[in-house]
Symmetry: C2
Subunit: 338 residues, 2 copies
Amino acid sequence: MAAFNVAVIGATGLVGSEVVRRLEGRGFPVKNLVPMASKKSSGTLVEFRGEGVQVVQASEDGLRGMDLVFLCVGQEEAVRYGYAAKEAGALVIDKSNAFRMDPEVPLVVPEVNPKAAFHHKGIVASPNCSTIQLVVAIKPLYDAVGIKRLIVSTYQSVSGTGKDAVTELRDQTEALLKGEEYRPSAYPYRIAFNLIPHIDAFEDTGYTKEEMKLVRETRKILEDPGLPISATAVRVPVFVGHSEAVTVDTQKECDVEEARRLWSEAPGVVLVDAPEALLYPMPVDCEGRDEVFVGRVRRDISCERGLTFWVVADNLRKGAATNAVQIAELVLLGEVSR
Amino acid sequence: MAAFNVAVIGATGLVGSEVVRRLEGRGFPVKNLVPMASKKSSGTLVEFRGEGVQVVQASEDGLRGMDLVFLCVGQEEAVRYGYAAKEAGALVIDKSNAFRMDPEVPLVVPEVNPKAAFHHKGIVASPNCSTIQLVVAIKPLYDAVGIKRLIVSTYQSVSGTGKDAVTELRDQTEALLKGEEYRPSAYPYRIAFNLIPHIDAFEDTGYTKEEMKLVRETRKILEDPGLPISATAVRVPVFVGHSEAVTVDTQKECDVEEARRLWSEAPGVVLVDAPEALLYPMPVDCEGRDEVFVGRVRRDISCERGLTFWVVADNLRKGAATNAVQIAELVLLGEVSR
């Protein structure tokens, strides 16, 4: 089997280090791994297949000879290294927001729109964390009964923000329990034992960019530019795992049994829905898992035809690293698997 | 001015002790305060107007001579003491679920349906915490532009469960930060750094009783038995303050400016909605406040006419104690104030 020279830019961040672990964990055929990061982190070691691999400073020159480049950095750097890696002939998989809405760049969730990936011109974008778990959950309904309208409320963990936010939640919680002060820095307000109904910048409509990512990316992935979607995105004091309360108005009737059957057969979905046994998805149970968990399924009582349910996924795994590695598997190996 | 003999049953619980503080704080004309509780708590002191008042064991006999009785206990005790207090000639205000859906008992939020209170036959019920803040927030829209459909996702704090749950969140969080085990008891699962999409028992439809309280109580308060409502109720690791993401389809067009104007004039509502200045309601800011806070107001983009917004209130204050004391002010003093 072919093996690939793989660079991970941003390899010391939460998502980048998870990409390295997923490459190993999923047995991706890596010939050489080149973990890259900022000057500050270069020289540190990243563990891969039982060995410490030295992190090198990210540079455009360093991308020569790479077959596959994962971009786990911010938008600005993603643009710079993305074009450089593409020029160097690599397949580029970008986790940032830089290319997602570019009509030339496919936005891919392998269980949902695998074919789109093969139209790439060097770059494939991976959607935002909250979009990925939403589209994996709704795709079986979309195909079987059609979706007329989608309303989503999110409950997003701090690891979606990055390492600093994880540290902030831990240290701030500890300080508060001791009755000490702690000045927020990763967020504008305290996150410990609080909620912040504000993720990313506000647009003129009053929606945040995070909420509009859910709207725009879902429409692009489903190739349904007019699909009515509304979202409210909220940060919650949870370390890992994003949750979503979803209401779907469907075109055709779909009862709970039918929906459960669709989900139990859907790729990448685990149905956890036995309320009588107190079984439903929760962030702590989904941490470290690659799938999207669906539960609390019920016939929505506020519309003629519709369902309401609860979706949880590990935002660092399926919401980020796992999806990126799956895209590589799909494009370079022709595989679709969880 | 007349003054009243007032009993608070459950005076040592989170809600009961807050009722005592609200009676004092709002200057309610109390002649004698009789705090009652279980045998276990009797003999302890409750502070009222700078003095320690001894808690007595709750008993039906002890209700004789009372003008006003607050029931801050579970459903079973509420029924027992509710009928006894009514027989004794007192006005009974019940915080439990015991009488809320009884067609003989008005279910009252003073800013929303004050007239209903005057049809009481001795007992007035105060709604569930999450219903109170919802109806205060939607009433101005309901009156001005009509509501066709309502979708609510809740983010409910642990103080809604009671003292044990508050202790559990604190102790469990502390234990987890130290890497120690902590067995859940107030909840079926860990609540620290987690979410539990399950409050109260499940009904056959898959909705929980907590979710259906939002549906049924809102319909009763608005006297609109067919109003389409759907809710998802989720417990979050926050000590005090319930939050709700609300989507409302309106009969008539209502833009954001009009909605803000309605809320800025609405009784009991504080509009906190300046996204450009990062101002929106959060639980920590609403703790210890009597009002309902509305923000993140936007024209809903998934329907023809509608709004999406965010509502926060202190579940022990407006969601419980404040509303109960306001009902007493309304019925006995003829006042409606925050």
